[in-house]
Symmetry: C2
Subunit: 341 residues, 2 copies
């Protein structure tokens, strides 16, 4: 069972979990331990703020998600939102609400994941709140980041003829989730069976330990490309394309054949008898970047590692269209994950 | 029962609740609607960040707390943390997790309270997250504020001979909570009884609709007084005094007779047969400011409206001492509210 959290109390637990944290960033002036954290950003920077609230049973299932992975992912999905503004994450605050079934060791594991993500991405933990909940675990992370004043990229700047680009590949995290859910169902009936995930490691990693595309934001800067619109793909490509089209008041045409999909994702969709393109378009939790660039940047993005051109922006009256391999046209629908349904 | 939230979906609900929000502050560049909010702070400012996570059944009881009041309080307690750094709140993000028993109208009421608090204190809502929970309501608010670079006040600057000051009065919010809990117990057995709160309005207001001491921070600035240490009283005076003593490495002597207590608090403690000083020292949720000033500022703080001198700072080896009306000395103990017990 491990050590009861009540033995440490709120301040004791916070102290225990945040011990040894050193502030890495110039902009982090004072971290954990006062009424508020103190930050100082350079005058040529804009400050970016994003927040996520994750609830047990809704966003994660602890029967197959290790707490350390959960912590890592909870931090990284916030970093991803900051990169999606063409910025860099610098600080997070971490609030946790936990029920009596969690031990000090559980919280150490969760925090180890959060701290590992922070080390990898050079982000400082500067505050938070730790409290109890009647049932389950709640994790609320707020991330603060920065971008040069003229470099922030919104969702509303896509223009007609712009190229639509996507980083990495899509649908793998969703297939990883299907795989874990299937194993959970199988293991419920037979406790002596060990799940065999060999050959499917990539899918599990995409679901359990996603990364934010820091590298793509850096590559864009190096190539001198400033996207006209950008966001990260958390609810599925379809849903995100529609956000960009609505906010930019444009239409789009994307080509099924250009949507990047990993081999393991394809094999798994076959095994599950699922439509591969639907998984890639609506799966969600990819944490890849979706962005648009002026057509003049065509060559630059075409040779950029990890980036694929999937279509282009049109006049709004042409709608939001997916062109299939056999040339049919379909209106895009957001069938992404809806946490309120 | 009201309108089911699923009819609007996540994005629909957020749009509905944040409709008509206009950004008031110069530093709020872009609010709700993208991957992150965009802020721009003047170069002579430091940025303050604080966060709170409130869980139903732990921090609030919806059988007697109206949702609008809850929203107001959830925002104000975060503002209070920013004032406690000698700063001013400018933006908040609001994350909500709600179970199926909440309707769109419930969320409108909660948001109305949050928006009212933001209007009163000139704070902008710039983002958040809305999702579902399996049970109950969770509210996570992060507040961002600013202070002039040389004006931030920490908990660790109190010096020997400094005067200890408290704003307002203490213990009333705690007595308000006792009152509400008693009425809840009474009403459980007798549904036709109306609670009679007359003459106790102040206690209820302090519990249900606390205010943050913006006025005190402004008065200190006007008088040219920069506290050496400051924090807000959320867990009780004893607990907060001990934080200041620990972090400043000092001792303190506070006098029972100088602790500010409202008449209604005293009457109620009598009625409940509770020790009045214990209520004032350990009740919590006062959201008053506790601060220390150099002895040279004695006259300035003595004539400051709404401020009381309650003692002074000593060498650490003299301990943390409460001197009772009859001259006895007691070591301070933090018996404040512990959310993890």
């Amino acid at each position: 069972m491990g050590t009861e959290i009540a033995t440490l109390g709120e301040f004791g637990l916070i102290k225990h979990l945040t011990e040894g944290i050193r502030l890495e960033n110039e902009s982090s002036r004072y971290g954990v331990g006062d009424d508020a954290a103190v930050l100082a950003y350079a005058p040529d920077k804009e400050v970016l703020v994003t927040t996520d609230l994750l609830m047990e049973g809704v966003h994660f299932d602890l029967t197959y998600v290790p707490l350390k992975h959960l912590g890592y992912k909870a931090a990284v999905v916030n970093f991803s939102d900051i990169y999606a503004m063409n910025g860099a994450p610098r600080q997070i605050t971490v609030s946790l609400a936990l029920s009596k079934r969690f031990s000090v060791e559980d919280m150490e594991a969760l925090y180890a994941g959060i701290r590992l993500a922070c080390e990898q991405y050079h982000v400082d933990i500067v505050g938070g709140d730790t409290t109890s909940s009647l049932t389950g675990l709640a994790i609320s992370i707020t991330c603060i980041g920065e971008a040069d004043k003229d470099k922030v990229v919104y969702r509303n700047g896509a223009k007609e003829t712009d190229l639509i680009c996507v980083s990495g590949d899509l649908g793998a995290a969703y297939m990883g989730l299907q795989l874990l859910e299937r194993e959970k169902a199988v293991l419920k009936d037979a406790t002596d069976v060990q799940p065999d995930f060999s050959g499917k490691e990539y899918l599990l990693e995409r679901q359990l330990k996603p990364e934010a595309r820091k590298d793509i934001v850096e590559r864009l800067a190096e190539a001198g490309v400033k996207p006209t619109a950008m966001m990260d793909i958390s609810d599925g490509l379809s849903s995100e394309l529609m956000h960009i089209c609505t906010q930019s008041n444009v239409g789009c045409r994307v080509y099924e054949e250009h949507i990047p999909i990993d081999y393991q994702t394809a094999v798994m969709a076959e095994e599950f008898n699922m439509n591969l393109t639907t998984c890639a378009m609506n799966g969600g939790e990819d944490y890849e970047l979706l962005f648009t660039v002026p057509i003049a940047d065509h060559e630059k993005v075409e040779r950029m590692e990890g980036v694929r051109l999937i279509g282009h922006i049109t006049k709004p009256e042409l709608g939001r269209v997916l062109i299939t391999r056999d040339g049919q046209e379909f209106e895009l629908k957001a069938q992404g994950w809806n946490p309120l349904k």
